[in-house]
Each structure stands twice: as structure tokens, then as C-alpha cells.
Symmetry: C2
Subunit: 314 residues, 2 copies
Amino acid sequence: MKILALAGGVGGAKLVDGLARILPPEQLSVIVNTGDDFEIFGLNISPDLDTVCYTLAGLANPITGWGQKDETWHTFQTVAHLGGPDWFRLGNKDLGTHLFRTEGLRLGKRLSEITLELCERWGVKHPVYPMSDDPVRTLVHAKDGSTLGFQEYFVQRACAPEVEKFEFKGVESSSPVGGAIAAIEEADVVLLTPSNPWVSIEPILAVPEYLERISQKPVIAVSPIVGGKALKGPAAKMYHELGIQPCASAVANHYRDFLNGFVLDTIDADELEKIERWRIIPLVADIVMKDQQDRVRLAEEVLAFSEMVLNRSR
Amino acid sequence: MKILALAGGVGGAKLVDGLARILPPEQLSVIVNTGDDFEIFGLNISPDLDTVCYTLAGLANPITGWGQKDETWHTFQTVAHLGGPDWFRLGNKDLGTHLFRTEGLRLGKRLSEITLELCERWGVKHPVYPMSDDPVRTLVHAKDGSTLGFQEYFVQRACAPEVEKFEFKGVESSSPVGGAIAAIEEADVVLLTPSNPWVSIEPILAVPEYLERISQKPVIAVSPIVGGKALKGPAAKMYHELGIQPCASAVANHYRDFLNGFVLDTIDADELEKIERWRIIPLVADIVMKDQQDRVRLAEEVLAFSEMVLNRSR
């Protein structure tokens, strides 16, 4: 069975890592959100791509969820001391990735090529595709009338502004990545990992061709909302501000038009019936991944569930 | 007495540092070469400005002559490990300066403003001016027909290509810095520090207005050539390749049209007569600055000599 996963940052990266420890590279590939990408200090930064790749490479910082483990901070400290922008923390090793990527883009390479080069160097064998080689930028339109770049909202403002709506600037004219399209076509099941539906999964689905092609496959989603709260990040807060009660079934409803299977946490088992009523096959599981064992266990359950959903959809 | 110094990298920075320990900020200002500036990894790097400022700030690496002391190298090592360009060594703290500068330029600040901000933060009180806020790029036209950016020639190729001629790209349309013009006007004596005449001092003099205004002042140069060899860098090699015997008097001849005083090393005392014949007042001194004591001693001698040249030119 071949799985194609869509992923944003930490939550998605964890499940993809669990899957990558079970499935060989031919059976698992990942399309990663690049709506979070931004430029600072003249550098091109791709936070979600880095989180997924660092996680698969065993380089991720297990405490922060972003950046590299065993980091040093001399450059960042220097910038802060000089009075430069210090809201986006850049470790010295992490910066090496950004310098490499920026230089590659300056030389005219595509982001997907550079990602492949990085993965080769890091020993990441499972194909990882940025959702597009064209710049797409997630903008947060806040209720106070302001418009913020995603990192500005997410990091600088710590998700404080209330969300009115999201915009994925440039997405209509962006092209999907050829390898990602092929990976969707070859996939038996498409997996929406437990990443933020609004700002991690939706930007990917908004790139031309993906949703259309994904809709023709059995699609499974894993809820990033457990007990009404987001596993990490502002997903629950966003649902709330957008007038939707944050809960597992709200996530299932989000993808309802094309969803075949949905994995929700044991704590949310009471939402099971509602989901079944939408003709979505539910799986109740322990979704919270605290350690590597959890990642592999959940990956195994998701794989068995995928087989089941795939068989039922035949 | 007010001194306006023109400086490139290490040699110039050392003498300026010696002068700065004697003269208050009102009596010494510096115009620094930016022809060496370049872009890598999307970052704007100003090697000579950094060398002068780091030296005045007490942050310079005393062994290499470039970069900061007590450096760490994690970012550079990461880039090298990833297979990125590793010919220009960037320490972690040094990178902080480049990020700060690049972000400032991206925000539309002028290089001279950013330099002022950096100096304020570093406690550098003597005014340091980049020669221009407009990009000027020193190109090396080699005898093999190739054209190299200066850092490509200087660092990546270790000055190996034989020089045919130099070009200061963009210099004709570059503007002088207002503060630098005022500093020249206010100066009693203009000092050409022992930096490379071809690629450190000439680019500054090629910026519109500077040479014209400097020529109206008593001008003193300190030889960067001692015993036929450059104190540091490729100056002697360049003279040789350009068909000129590298020696102290060749430097004096370089500036002959507007030079009033010339400081040469004791080892080159036999060239004294030749220089006098050109109606340039010579001073024989120990030019080599091995430590801070040497810098201050030479600065004192240069200041006394400046008084003398100034009085004679009145």
C-alpha cells in the first residue's frame, strides 16, 4: 500500500516520522505546506519543510518542535544585541540550512530541488515535496482590520490577534510540484496528518490540481484537535474565532466533501456517531504522540485503518 | 588638528585604531572602501567596513585580521556539510552583523546609517563612513581573460590569477556620502593608511568628488609596501603583474599628483631621495604594526609628521 501524506509542522511531522519507520521510501511520500515560508534578513525560510525534514533526519529539537537539536545561538544573540529583529529565533545550525536554501534559490534552483539535495545530505530517503516551487504566502486577516504575514501572526504576535479569515497569497497562480502530482496518482490512500486544517492543510489543498486529484483517492484524516484543544498551536483558537466549536468532528466536517476515514482520540469517542452519519469511517485511537513509541504505534494503527478504508472503498 | 583617513582592511584598520587611541572622535574620521562588498547567501557583506569597525570596537580577530575574536563556526560548518559554498568563512557572530546589515538594507536604510547604528552599539565613537551608499563592485580583469568579483579573486582564488586591470563597477554613478564630504572639508590633513593602493584606496578616490576635494588638502600616505613586500595581501603581487617594481616609492608615485607627505619604512630609507625629488616630504619610520603598542607609536609619529606637513603647506 502506498501512502501520500499532507503535512504542516510538528504534529504532521511526528506521524510522518512514525510512518517512515514502518514503510519503505517507495510506499510513503509527503507534500509539505509552504504557506508559512517567509523572508527575513534576506534569507528564505521554510519552517514546515524544515520541521518535517529535521524530524525525518533525526535532527529536530524534541523540546521546541522547531529548529535543530544541540543548537547554539551566537548569531541570533549578536543580532539581538545589535537591536535587530529578534522575534524569530534562528539557531546557528538551522541558519546553515537557510543559507544553503537561499543560495540555491539565488542560483535559480527550485525549492523542490533544494529540498531533495538537503534530504540526500541528511539521509532522508522518503520523498518530501514542498507543495509548490512558487511562493505562496499565508496571510492572516485579523478582526481588528490588520493583515499579518503568517510568521508575524504565529511567532511575533504569538497568535494573539483574532482571526477573521485566511488568504493564501499567490496560490491561484502557483503550480503543483510534478513529483507530488505523481505521488498522489500512485498513492492508494491520501493521509491528512494531524496538522492545522486552516493554515497547514488548506494551503496545500488550495494549490491547483491537488484537491481535484486527492478527491479521487480514499482520504483519511487524523484529528489535530483532542478534547476540544489543539495538540499544538492555534487550531482550536482559530475554530473558535471563526465561529465553530473546536472539536474532532469539526475537523472531520472541514474535510467532509472528500473524506473517507477519520481518526479521532479516545477522549472524543462521543463524536463517533456524528462522523458516521456523514458516511465517514471513524477510528478511535490514542492520537497524542508523546514519544517515538507513540509515533510508531499511531502509524501502525493508521496503516491498518488505511487498509480497511481502502478495501471498503473498492 | 583634524585627520580624515581613507582605509581598506587590516593595515588601514590598525593605523586608524592607533590614531583613535590618541585623537578624540571630533578629530578623526574614516572613509572606508566598499568596493570589496559582495552578496552571498542573500546576505550583504562589507568586509573592509567590518574590519575597520571590529578593530575600533576591540572585537577583531587578532590572528586572522578578519572576522570577530572568540568565534564559533556552527553555521559555516553546516553549510559546508550540506555542500554549499564554503570558500568565504563566516563565523557565527560575524554572521550576526551581516544579518543585521542585510535586514537594514532590505528595510530601505542606507549603508552609512546602518554603519552608524552598528558603531553606536559597539561603542565606536569615531565617525566611520562607507565610501558610498550605492553599490560599487571591484572587478579583477585577469590576464587569462576572465573577470572575477573581488572576493572571488581574493578569497576563493587566493589572489592566484594574474591581474590585467581593475574595474570599479558602478563607481561613476555612485554618490559620495554627505558626512564623508563634510569630514574631508573639515580635515586639516587627509591620511591614506597602509592599505592596498589598487583595490582599497583607489576605489574610494574613484567615487565622484572625493579626489577633487582631497587634492585641495595636505595629503599624507603611509606605505603598505615594506622591503618590496606587502605588509599583508596582494599589493606587491599586483604591482609586479602590472609591470611596476613593488617598492615604497612605487606607492608614493601612485599618489604623486596630490601627495604632500609619505611615510616609508626604515628598511626602505634608500628610496628617500627619489621621493624628495618628487617634492614629497618623506618620513622614515617603523611601519610594521605587530601589536597595539606599534599602532599607537606609529600613530604618534604620523600625527607629528602631519603637523609638520601641514605647517609646511601653509
